[in-house]
């Protein structure tokens, strides 16, 4: 990565460490995500991908390291620096594997909730929510409850929900791995559009073809460390590390 203006950096992670019950799960991870870039994180199960993502909005508190999001230091040394956790989380949208929509609220209310809690006036929040649902192709489903929607629709509502507070970066944790191929296609289409609109994204995924297609940067994580990173063409096409090659081979075998 070449040196760019600092203002260009949306997420900066330096030497991040995190352990659970004394077991190191993130072991000195450093990573920079620039404005309008898409970073795909790939790797074996249990490698620490989800944990890394969750540290970025402090759903998980690291043990040590530096975390900067949208120009603000939110964690440094071994303590949280961020005064307003709510504000941080508003600037970091998150989309989960299991969608985690609020089942008691309609799609449009799911998208409105965070805005209302953040003080956006009712009518503005509503209009914004409808606009976002239309953007993900679900204007006609605005009044449906999650359980009345297919998995793909739910995940698209979850994306709209994550976008509602205009985050500087969107985090995705295996957004399509609970979905059938058709729903996967729907969701990936929406994500591709977001990418084209210049959204900054960090994406944990098993969809290597998609990663190859849309990501600007691919990071292979294993055993809590970044083993290899680079352009998709490099990491997925001509991996340098043995572990990366093994992983890619096992992936190909599964297909």
């Amino acid at each position: 990565m070449s040196v760019t203006a600092l203002s260009d950096v949306v997420v900066r992670i330096e030497d991040l460490q995190k352990s659970f019950d004394g077991r190191l799960v993130l072991d000195g991870v450093s990573l920079t995500v620039r404005h309008r870039k898409i970073v795909a994180i790939i790797g074996q199960s249990g490698g620490g991908k989800t944990t890394l993502l969750r540290c970025l909005n402090l759903l998980e508190q690291p043990d040590r390291g530096l975390l900067e999001v949208a120009g603000e230091t939110i964690f440094s040394g071994s303590s949280v620096q961020c005064r307003d956790l709510a504000k941080l989380r508003q600037s970091v949208g998150m989309v989960f594997q299991k969608f985690n929509l609020f089942p008691h609220l309609t799609a449009v209310e799911n998208v409105m909730l965070a805005q209302l809690r953040a003080g956006v006036p009712e009518q503005d929040a509503l209009e914004k929510a409808v606009q976002l649902l239309r953007r993900v192709g679900l204007g006609h489903r605005a009044l449906a409850y999650p359980e009345q929607m297919s998995g793909g629709e739910q995940q698209r509502v979850a994306i709209a929900r994550a976008l509602a507070l205009k985050p500087s970066v969107l985090l995705f944790d295996e957004p399509t791995s609970s979905l059938d191929p058709e729903s996967t296609a729907e969701v990936l289409r929406v994500m591709r559009e977001l990418a084209e609109d210049g959204m900054t994204m960090v994406l944990v995924t098993h969809e290597l073809p998609f990663a190859r297609d849309v990501a600007d940067w691919v990071v292979f994580v294993d055993g809590g460390r970044i083993v290899e990173q680079g352009t998709p063409a490099d990491v997925l096409g001509k991996p340098r590390e043995l572990r990366t090659r093994t992983f890619l081979a096992s992936y190909a075998a599964g297909q």
Partner: protein, 239 residues
């Protein structure tokens, strides 16, 4: 043999008793729900110091007969110098007893809300209180409803135990009539029918409410307005 009791004569007294029964039920249930929710929150807390006393409370009151609680609250506390009036003593007894049961139901409902919900809410920047109020509580309420409703009907029926502290509710009136007429069976059947007439519509009404809520029908005017506004925007575009 049946209906030899001059019910017409006793109707005003029974109506009076009915009114008291309903009064005890409403006041006690409201109190028990509040105390039960507080206990449930203590019991899902991360701190042992909060969890344990709440657990002990629940175990104690779940395992002694309500009659004993009523007796001790009214007479026992009086001997100890705290003289609650009949209504307060009756309500306090029912509240402390049913709060124990309700806290179990509420606790199960709260911990039954999927962990991902809390996480999603936090990831959206909702604070602890907002997360509970707008995400966890509404879902917990839904799964707690059936058990809670059973308890409400049970509480209504249990007001009959307040006889012993001269609460003058329905069952007390029934006993008075029995003693005057010596027609216990007839009186008990009529009293049972009155209780059924109270409880059945109540439980059916609650079931109806349960179904409405499960079907996602908006119950508050605010939500109804919001959904109407959403519909307006959506339809405005389609025309």
């Amino acid at each position: 043999m049946m209906f030899e009791v001059p019910w017409g004569e006793y109707a005003p007294a029974l109506l009076d008793g009915l009114e008291r029964t309903v009064g005890y039920t409403i006041a006690s249930f409201a109190g028990a729900a509040v105390l039960g929710l507080a206990l449930a929150l203590l019991r899902v807390s991360r701190h042992r110091a909060l969890r344990i006393p709440a657990a002990i409370y629940t175990e104690v009151f779940k395992n002694i007969p309500l009659l004993a609680i009523i007796f001790v609250t009214y007479f026992g506390l009086a001997s100890a110098g705290l003289k609650l009036d009949v209504f307060s003593a009756g309500c306090v007894s029912l509240i402390v007893f049913y709060a124990a049961y309700l806290s179990e139901i509420f606790r199960a409902a709260i911990s039954g809300v999927h962990g991902g919900q809390q996480e999603a809410a936090e990831a959206l920047g909702l604070g602890k209180i907002s997360t509970f109020a707008y995400v966890v509580f509404p879902q917990a309420l839904r799964s707690a409803l059936p058990g809670t409703n059973t308890m409400l009907v049970d509480l209504l029926k249990s007001t009959s135990l307040l006889v012993t502290i001269s609460a003058a509710e329905l069952m007390s009136e029934g006993r008075l009539i029995t003693s005057a007429t010596f027609r216990a069976l007839e009186v008990y059947l009529v009293i049972a029918a009155i209780y059924f007439g109270l409880c059945y519509p109540l439980s059916q009404g609650l079931l109806w409410l349960e179904r409405k809520i499960r079907a996602g029908v908006p119950l508050t005017p605010k939500r109804r307005r919001r959904l109407k506004a959403a519909r307006a925007i959506l339809e405005g575009a389609s025309t």
